[in-house]
């Protein structure tokens, strides 16, 4: 067991966990931040995507020890009122089906737009290809990313 001070969503959190515990399970089991989802555990599906210093990272394979000094953002902290342009677009396009993959999709999309506010269709495809949606909402995800991009000032 080790003690970690974590910076998540602009707040300080503490956790006593083993060093190899993936950030995903610290968020979920220890900190009650369950918006970040488990889907595969091997960085294949993107359900667990969070931002680490602004970049989209699969938290299922990121040991907490490697995240301790970073600025972490989860879906809960993406915006104060669920009004990040990506979230607004997700609602307007009515993207979600079962919804389980969508937090990860939104985190991948928002990381993309932070880096590249006007992505081409192919750039959207590339950035989102690591996120599986078993319900097949890919068209709407694509549409929502493009819409969010158009909303950015």
């Amino acid at each position: 067991m080790a003690h970690y001070n974590l910076q998540i969503n602009g707040r300080a959190y503490e956790a006593d966990v083993e060093a190899d515990t993936p950030l995903l399970w610290v968020l979920r089991d220890n900190l009650g931040l369950v918006g970040t989802k488990y889907g595969c555990g091997i960085a294949q599906c993107g359900a667990c995507t969070v931002h680490v210093n602004g970049a989209a990272v699969r938290s299922c394979t990121l040991p907490v020890s490697a995240a301790a000094k970073s600025k972490i953002t989860t879906i809960e902290g993406l915006s104060a009122n669920g009004d990040h342009p990506v979230q607004v677009a997700w609602n307007e396009v009515d993207v979600a089906q079962c919804g389980y993959c969508q937090a990860g999709q939104i985190m991948s999309a928002s990381a993309l737009l932070a880096k590249n506010p006007k992505p081409t269709g192919a750039e959207i495809d590339n950035a989102m290809n690591g996120n599986i949606c078993r319900c097949g909402t890919y068209h709407r995800i694509h549409e929502a990313v493009a819409l969010a991009s158009s909303k950015l000032k």
Binding site: I42, G82, A96, C101
Partner: protein
Amino acid sequence: MLNLLKTNRRNFLKITATAGGGLILGFNWSGADASTMGMINASDITGSGPAEAVDFNSYLAISPDNVITIFSPNPELGQNIKTSFPMIVAEELDADWSKVKVVQAALNAKKYERQLTGGSGAIPHSWERLRKAGATARYMLMEAAAKRWGVPSSTLKTNNGMVLNADGTSGLSYGELATEASAIQIPAEVKLKEIKDFKLIGTAVRNVDNPEMITGKPLFGMDFYREGMLFAMIQRPEAFGMKLKSVDSAAAKVMPGIIDIVTFRNNVAVVGKSTWQVNKARKLLKIEYEKEGNIESSSDHDRLFKELLESKEATVRRKDGDVDNAFKTAAKVITREYQCPFLSHSPMEPMNFFAHVRADGVELVGPSQTPEAARTETSKLLGIPPEQITLELTRLGGGFGRRLKTDYVTEAAELSSILKAPVKVIWTREDDMTGGSYRPAVRYRFDAALDTNGKLTGYKLRGVGINVGNATREDNFPSGAVDNLLIDSVEHKSPITTGAWRAPITNFLAFAEQAFLDEVAMAANQDPVKFRLDLLDKAKKSPVGAIKYDIDRMKGVIELAAEKSGWGTKKNLAQGFSVYFSHRTYVAQVAEVEMIKGNPVLQKIYAVADCGIVVNLSGAKQQVRGGVVDGIGHAFFSNLTFKDGAAEQKNFNTYRLIRMKEVPEIDVHFVNNGIDPTGLGEPALPPTGGAVANAIFKATGKRLYNQPFTKQEEMKGVRLGERL
């Protein structure tokens, strides 16, 4: 707690008003005729619903402050029931949708008819009942206004949550009238709206759970945590046909956070304080298994399929005319075989369930497509009466049929009863893929006899399935259109656990049949669309045996798909056609493959569905697109094979699902014919593989017979996506 009082004959249930006022109309989501409708008056209408409600599983509540709450009892796994069912109630109520709140009802009432999700059956089952519930409340509100104004109710109108007087000059909101309406006698009969007067139904309404889903609120079973609960993972036999022999848990037991290691049935449960600790410790278990039944590999299935295709002991499913003679006298005979592999359901949310077995009862929380069955099975297993078991349903992170099974629920309950503690059992993705339940592999053989005019005179289909009973759907098209027809099936019983997978049987049968008919049309020298239409005309004029599909509706989707896709008019594109009726809905599809730099690329799919009235256009479009995407993904990529009884693919690195880059454009259309709605969760998937394979043939001259396509030689060079 609410007080339910049974008032009279006809089973009305009525509640005397309590403080707070308002109107609560209880009805059965799946049985809202007058005999199962009643009024309840409660101070708290946003609570989890009355626990003693015996005959109701849904409630429509109108509070004095004008909030309309509809309690939804059905499992929500993305089929949009939680949005579309309340829309139906709100339509007949003439409510202002922006004032409607949808709340997931608690699942502790005693009766839940059709409280399951599967078989695309929810909408047809509930349509009329939901309409009556809304219309009944509207009637009562109008009567209340009539009383207040001292005018006959027949002079009044409603609009957008208001009752209006004859000339529309004054109005009362539903909220203002709700308490008075609760004193009105429930009518035995109510008039429903004319379809043409629908205002909400048929429009695109956003999912009521969007705000929670996009902000990461705890909605799913995986998100359920309870103070003091234990975490468990279960090691199940890694191969089907094996059973537990011995367990050495010494190394696992001393790992940090581990509380107990419990062996029950063939399971070894590692119980601890967190998911990760349990997951780590579990890898240190040393377990020996021994043989209990057949140990099968996919190569055994391949061999068995070929043997069973020749079996003399098939079960005849349908026989019309004289097939032997038709084939003896045929000018041309076409015989083709088609095979698909096992598939995993792989909903994004892996299996999980929370259970707390206490002396005074059992508490279950989690995602299930069949909560009632889960409760019954738990009751049987633990010997605890069902009344003492509550099951709180969470949102489901997908189902695809996997959560129709109750294994992962009863297992959690059994573990909790052994531990005498609250516990959540979590399946890893690997657990789900290796120890779950599968769409079984199947092989079909089709034979067609053509006469010298290219007329289809004989048709045979044999299905060889695994654990599915009848691997055919003998009454589907072209049955009824062919004079001489024989459909039979053979079943192999395997220890590999299988289960209903989205669009059971038809998910592959439709591909095989539609690919075959394309070849038959070609052999008969006819256009595939015209070939099907001619067969349907023949079935209409001189039906052979029973016809279990609606010929006109099938023709309707074929013709609309041909029109929308410009069938036969596009010179530079290869188009493939397919049409299928399943789960009460008709869907035709046209796939387009374009040659780009010498490679055939799947560019676009047109999908035309006849599901009767479309309730929620947004949800419906996504259901169809999602079904097509699923149809493409599983036809192209997904492949679960077995070696010595064990699944060879364990996670998404080796078990391929379709990804964003691979989806073509999908253009969805509905036939709007005013017929009562049928489901859309499944029927868009079956026709997809056939349309795509037929288009690939047009482009490359190569036929696909087996799935996954990507493993076939014929697929060389074929590309997906590049739609942008």
